[in-house]
């Protein structure tokens, strides 16, 4: 069994661990680091519940090996809040009722956060397109779009 010593910077802090080749990034985040805000939904690369930012880009962490993240930066939903202050995207989901059960929410927020870094004032079509790899079974997406729009306006 091949083991690898990896160091991954998660939410600004470097974490080292010894992992098997086949160990997935999502398990490293949830089980090794105890950051359970990142969810596992489908486990088949479809739903986006496991979305984290890898070097700033949203990816499905159930389909990335932990060793692939060695030496890279990961940001999870726990990294959104800074010094007790919510990120605009978190505020948006709260103000616009962007969630019901909340299962998809961490992934949605990571994708929304990444979109707003790249596109300051996205159109509704751009928002819908950006979140098209994140599935929500509750809200019908309307309030999720509003939540991202709220955050965009807040960041202006």
């Amino acid at each position: 069994m091949a083991m690898h010593k990896i160091t991954v910077t998660v939410n600004g802090t470097a974490h080292s661990a010894e992992v098997e080749s086949r160990f997935l990034l999502v398990h490293f985040i949830r089980e090794v680091l105890g950051l359970t805000g990142t969810h596992i939904g489908c486990d088949t690369t479809h739903c986006g519940a496991c979305t984290v930012l890898l070097d700033g880009e949203p990816v499905k962490s159930c389909t990335v090996l932990a060793v692939q993240a060695h030496g890279r930066r990961v940001m999870t939903v726990e990294g959104l809040e800074r010094d007790g202050k919510l990120d605009p995207i978190q505020e948006g989901f709260m103000q616009e009722h962007g969630l019901q059960c909340g299962f998809c929410t961490p992934g949605m927020m990571m994708t929304g956060h990444a979109l707003l870094r790249r596109t300051k004032n996205p159109s509704e079509a751009e928002i819908r397109q950006a979140i098209s790899g994140n599935l929500c079974r509750c809200t019908g997406y309307v309030n999720i779009v509003k939540a991202v729009q709220y955050a965009a306006a807040k960041q202006q």
């Binding site: 086949r22 486990d43 690369t45 979305t51 949203p58 499905k60 389909t63 397109q129 098209s132 790899g133």
Partner: protein
């Protein structure tokens, strides 16, 4: 689901990667974006002793014009292709294609080379590359060779790549003036593979007739399909509706789709026909011809 055990290698040069592949033979596989391979390993559709990750090898991600070719590095991510100014301005057919592959999160990892090397007739790039007359550049222990894409796909999940070879670059001849291309895909929902898909690339002559046409079909058989009869039929013809309809019929005749949850074989063949006609019309419009 954690895949069955394997060993992971992250070579930092192409020659190290090739040495690892040569050493482990059939027991090793290249890992690019992992968006096809990792799901297959997780659900045990594939098993492998060694994964050779090419993601840390510098110099495999680019899209540039050089020496009469558009050259795309094999490890170029779909998302990078979508954002490339060169692709957006000059190769809308590639933008059409990248934009309908999987979803934006998958496209942040998935690579153009992987999309071809996987040999899946359901993947979207093969049809486009067939229409564009592309070649793939492959490196192995004995050096480099170029393989025209119309000789690359050998069977379901099977390509001309040997187990100790790496696809390094895709080369597309820069189309002459008055050329245009388009890719159209029918999908049930975002992220689904094509029910049917058609790529068309045309060059118009000075008089407005079609000088050259390339047509590729997605998910229309065990391999990506080049609709050769339709291409030949179009050469030298004026692009009127009747001609394009006949090309659509000929392209559909080249298709041999299998029935599945996306539809019956006849339905898929009919969709291949309709999409071919529409892709040709869009390509002709982009080439500056009548729509």
């Amino acid at each position: 689901m954690i895949p069955a055990a394997f060993d992971y290698h992250a070579p930092e040069s192409l020659s190290d990667a090739l040495a690892l592949l040569d050493q482990h033979g059939e027991d090793a596989k290249v890992l690019a974006g992992g968006m096809s391979l990792l799901p297959m390993l997780k659900i045990r559709l594939a098993q492998v002793g060694h994964l050779v990750d090419i993601g840390r090898i510098p110099g495999l991600e680019y899209a540039k014009e050089e020496g009469g070719f558009l050259k795309i590095g094999a490890a170029t991510k779909e998302a990078a292709l979508e954002r490339s100014d060169l692709i957006r301005s000059k190769y809308p057919i590639l933008l059409d294609t990248a934009a309908v592959i999987a979803d934006p999160l998958v496209r942040n990892r998935a690579t153009v080379g992987g999309n071809l090397a996987h040999g899946d007739p359901a993947n979207d790039h093969p049809a486009t590359m067939l229409a564009l007359g592309a070649s793939v550049v492959v490196r192995g222990p004995k050096g480099e060779r170029a393989i025209p894409v119309d000789q690359f796909f050998r069977g379901l999940f099977t390509t001309a790549l040997a187990s100790n070879e790496i696809l390094t670059e895709i080369r597309i001849p820069v189309p002459p003036a008055r050329s245009g291309g388009a890719y159209l895909k029918l999908e049930r929902k975002v992220g689904d593979f094509a029910t049917a898909g058609a790529a068309a690339q045309v060059t118009l002559g000075a008089g407005g007739a079609i000088e050259k046409a390339g047509i590729g079909l997605t998910n229309a058989g065990p391999t990506p399909i080049k609709a050769v009869e339709a291409e030949k039929f179009l050469a030298g013809k004026r692009p009127d509706d009747q001609t394009l309809q006949e090309a659509g019929r000929l392209a559909a005749r080249a298709a041999s789709p299998s029935p599945d949850r996306r539809g019956a074989a006849d339905y898929k063949r009919e969709m291949a026909r309709v999409l071919t006609v529409r892709a040709l019309k869009a390509a002709i419009r982009r080439a500056g011809g009548p729509s």
